[in-house]
């Protein structure tokens, strides 16, 4: 798949909440970078297994009330996707709006890097 096809597929899966299914679009050595480190975690997750573990931690710790996915906006071998979640953080019971932009880099038909942009980061 080219970058446009991967971007469209990723957005379609995310809109359906199928974040784990989207992992077939990633290279095994893909890197995921957060704007700030999650509690007890690192900003960078290296490799698909680490990215999946981060995703599982997120799902286990958040209750999603509603979600909006916008884009993609492409440029060359990269594209941006917008995310807006109405969530409750399960351990604290705190409900808040999470708004972030994901910047994805494609190489050889796979996502090799994702970077999440949001306020409150480093």
């Amino acid at each position: 798949m080219n970058t446009t096809e991967i971007a469209s597929k990723l957005v379609a899966l995310c809109k359906q909440g199928k974040f784990q299914d989207a992992k077939v679009l990633y290279a095994p050595e893909a890197v995921s970078v957060e704007a700030s480190a999650p509690p007890g975690g690192q900003r960078e997750s290296v490799g698909l297994a680490a990215i999946q573990a981060k995703g599982e931690w997120w799902v286990a710790n958040h209750e999603v009330h509603s979600m909006q996915v916008a884009g993609p906006w492409p440029n060359d071998d990269q594209f941006i996707v917008g995310f807006r979640f109405d969530v409750t953080m399960k351990p604290t019971g705190q409900r808040f709006m999470m708004e972030e932009m994901g910047l994805y880099t494609v190489k050889d038909g796979k996502i090799v890097r994702e970077e999440f942009f949001y306020s409150g980061g480093a």
Copy 2:
């Protein structure tokens, strides 16, 4: 100024339509990259003079009816800003919505790179 301050300043100036004033935030050697080349132009503009010339071409060729600027969303030394313009392309009289994301990279207190993401690009 640090990345967060530059991002806030850029968004504030863009919301006021002061795109030319925002150029003080750029390094002289800054590079601007479009998702697709404008008519008769290149995807990449190298140096502040070339970036200003591109901006002047845009202003001369578009009538802006309304504009929304969203963000910034930061990550480390980069940040993303969202733009939505309701414009008429003066030479053709065609009115359309332009929606794009700008990815900015900061180094030594100045913007050194801006990349615009939108559909219809390369």
